[in-house]
């Protein structure tokens, strides 16, 4: 466990988790200071899920993301500048400002996009897996979704087909304990993993605050999915530090401050992984502090850049409604 190559990958996982936290801290500040249009949903607290899984993927592998999607986007390789530009509706954003926080997509890294319909991307991820097999690309698709989305019927339709057709897709259920403003145990009957098992899908439950546990399981399942042994289902037990969205400030009617501080103090994925790295002697505490400082500086710089960046020209409003088709293709023999 102490090979240099492992240390490198551990530090990368640590850094990626810090990048997500730093991004969200800045995004929250942008909201609180009224500099960001609209609302956004914070991923803070769930970093080990996105990073543990995405570090087991290649950039060609596909993911689908959710309304709480900044973490997936960062973990799959996106850059701060284009992400903040997108959050602020700027031309240089990943989607030229047309998507915003809830639709951020980064196809160059295989991120097929966040989705503002809860459970809306389950078919897309499954279709990406079907496409990967048809094209013989060897890619795997990971569908990120929350516990709230397990109440949507689409999930069961596509898991049925994925199991029938043995598609290389992994359903990653981030159970953060809350379906918007409602406790998960009030919306989910029985066991979530048992639902996948009912389709004959191998299902696992893992501590979503432990990036190494998530990564180790993901490595195994992704390798098996590539060999045609999929699909798989993972329930990742995690916690959402913020409210459903940034404006959900007074939330004591559905959860206590004690509960929140317990997770933050005792189960933080970044703090705990950092402690483990230093306890193992893999890195000095000051090295981690230096990583933190660098990442936070990058995030601040990217925010400053995005705030100063240009909005798209008004002429773009009706661009991209339809994709262009080469006229030569539409002719006989084309």
């Amino acid at each position: 466990m102490t090979q240099p190559s492992n240390t490198e990958s551990y530090l990368r996982m640590y850094t990626q988790m810090v990048r997500i936290r730093a991004f969200e801290d800045q995004a929250n500040q942008l909201y609180l200071s009224a500099k960001m249009p609209g609302l956004t949903h914070m991923y803070s607290g769930q970093e080990a899920v996105a990073v543990g899984i995405c570090e087991a993927l290649t950039s060609d592998d596909k993911i689908t993301s959710t309304h709480r999607g900044h973490g997936h986007c960062v973990a799959k390789g996106a850059e701060f500048k284009q992400m903040f530009c997108e959050l602020l509706g700027k031309e240089e954003g990943y989607c030229r400002g047309k998507g915003g926080s809830m639709h951020i997509a980064d196809q160059s890294n295989g991120n097929l996009g966040a989705n503002a319909i809860v459970g809306g991307s389950m078919g897309i991820a499954t279709g990406a897996a079907m496409s990967a097999r048809a094209r013989g690309s060897g890619e795997v698709a990971v569908c990120f979704f929350g516990d709230g989305a397990t109440a949507q019927g689409l999930m069961y339709e596509v898991m049925n087909m994925a199991a029938l057709w043995k598609l290389p897709v992994i359903y990653a259920c981030e159970n953060n304990g809350y379906s918007e403003y409602t406790r998960t145990d009030e919306i989910a009957a029985g066991s979530i993993v048992a639902r996948a098992e009912a389709f004959g899908i191998e299902a696992h439950q893992v501590d979503g605050q432990d990036v190494l546990a998530v990564n180790e399981l993901s490595q195994k399942l992704i390798a098996r999915a590539r060999k045609g042994e999929g699909p798989f289902f993972i329930e990742l037990m995690t916690y959402r530090y913020h409210g459903h969205h940034v404006g959900d400030i007074n939330r004591e009617y559905y959860r206590t401050k004690d509960e929140e501080s317990d997770w933050k103090s005792n189960r933080d994925p970044i703090t705990n992984f950092g402690r483990w790295l230093t306890e193992q002697g893999l890195v000095a505490p000051e090295d981690l502090a230096a990583i933190d400082a660098d990442v936070y500086k990058d995030a601040e710089d990217a925010v400053a850049y995005a705030l100063a960046a240009a909005y798209p020209d008004g002429s773009e409003v009706d661009m991209h409604v339809y994709a262009p088709t080469d006229p030569a293709t539409l002719r006989v023999g084309g």
Partner: protein, 331 residues
């Protein structure tokens, strides 16, 4: 020229495009060995196998979503939706996902898929297997909507739909599957957004979609017997819509009726009529009139169902009143 059925024309279009492009595949309920309940796809699974003619469980939102994901990642799915009425089941995947992906991603992702489904009443199939719901999807930016009026259009529009880089919904009239029309042996495509002037005339323009083109043509025959010269136009696609051809015709004839099998209220007859009123008002001698299906769920009883859709006689009667300069309402 040989004549083939609309069903055979669709089958040929799909087979030709599947031979041409290995990324094209068909997905839906009972599309393989069954060849769909209307047998439109018979024979395809024998040629292309079950990897490309994919039978699904009865799960319309599920296979629609899978098609969207496949289309976003390099494939060109043809989704077979057994009845147009099932559109309500796939609306999220079609309208929130497929239609918006290109725009929401700032042009980086696209969804080249075809949703082929059907429309049309008077088959005694009652309210959940008889609707003509094209207005529903025509309302959503990002979708294209084709409405073939014969075997010839069905083949040429399907081939274009498959090659388009956008989601296209194509509505076949289920009563026309066995109707034959001349279809060339050699390859052809029909471009989107190009209306077809089926019959030239000078007194009134009859704009019809899908099977209503035949209704308009029969009405024009009746009118000819009364000395009235009707022009008949088939828009062929309602998104994109060939406004220029419609406007040129209406400016010439100064009167128009828009005939469609969707419900008249908030339907495409109203949309087309509004565009003609806005852009050709000073050329008009009569209000542009709408004739859609009645605003009632489609009834089962033949005695009731036949009352709900436009007929050649009713179209001709209204046209004659307009040409006679009869006042349709108090001045």
């Amino acid at each position: 020229m040989r004549e083939i059925t609309l069903s055979k024309a669709v089958n040929e279009a799909i087979a030709e495009e599947m031979r041409r492009d290995p990324t094209v595949f068909v997905i839906g309920e009972d599309v393989a060995e069954a060849g769909t309940p209307f047998k439109v796809l018979s024979g395809l699974v024998e040629e292309f196998g079950t990897d490309r003619i994919v039978d699904t469980p009865i799960a319309e939102p599920g296979f629609m979503g899978i098609a969207v994901g496949a289309a976003m990642t390099g494939m060109r799915p043809i989704v077979d939706l057994m009845f147009g009425d099932f559109l309500f089941l796939v609306m999220d995947q079609l309208c929130n996902q497929a239609a918006k992906t290109h725009y929401m991603s700032g042009g980086k992702l696209s969804v080249p898929l075809v949703l082929r489904t059907n429309m049309g009443a008077t088959r005694r199939s009652a309210a959940q297997h008889s609707q003509s719901l094209h207005a529903l999807v025509a309302h959503i930016p990002g979708l294209m909507v084709a409405m073939p009026s014969s075997a010839y259009e069905a083949k040429g529009l399907m081939k274009t739909a498959i090659r388009e880089n956008n989601p296209v919904v194509i509505f076949e009239d289920k009563l026309m599957y066995q109707d034959k029309a001349p279809v060339p042996e050699e390859e052809y495509l029909i471009p989107f957004g190009q209306a077809n002037v089926k019959r030239e005339g000078t007194d009134i323009t009859l704009i019809g979609t899908s099977s209503m083109v035949q209704v308009a043509e029969k009405a024009a025959e009746i009118l000819a017997g009364q000395g009235i010269s009707a022009e008949v136009i088939d828009p062929r696609t309602i998104v994109p819509l060939d406004e220029a051809t419609l406007l040129a015709s209406v400016k010439k004839t100064s009167r128009a009726i828009v005939i469609d099998e969707g419900h008249q209220g908030y339907g495409i007859t109203g949309e087309i009529a509004a565009r003609l009123n806005e852009k050709a008002f000073y050329h008009l001698d009569a209000p542009v009139c709408r004739m859609g299906a009645m605003d009632v769920p489609v009834p089962f009883s033949p005695a009731l169902e036949d009352l709900t859709v436009p007929t050649p006689e009713r179209v001709a009667a209204l046209a004659a009143r307009l040409v006679a300069g009869e006042m349709l309402h108090d001045a």
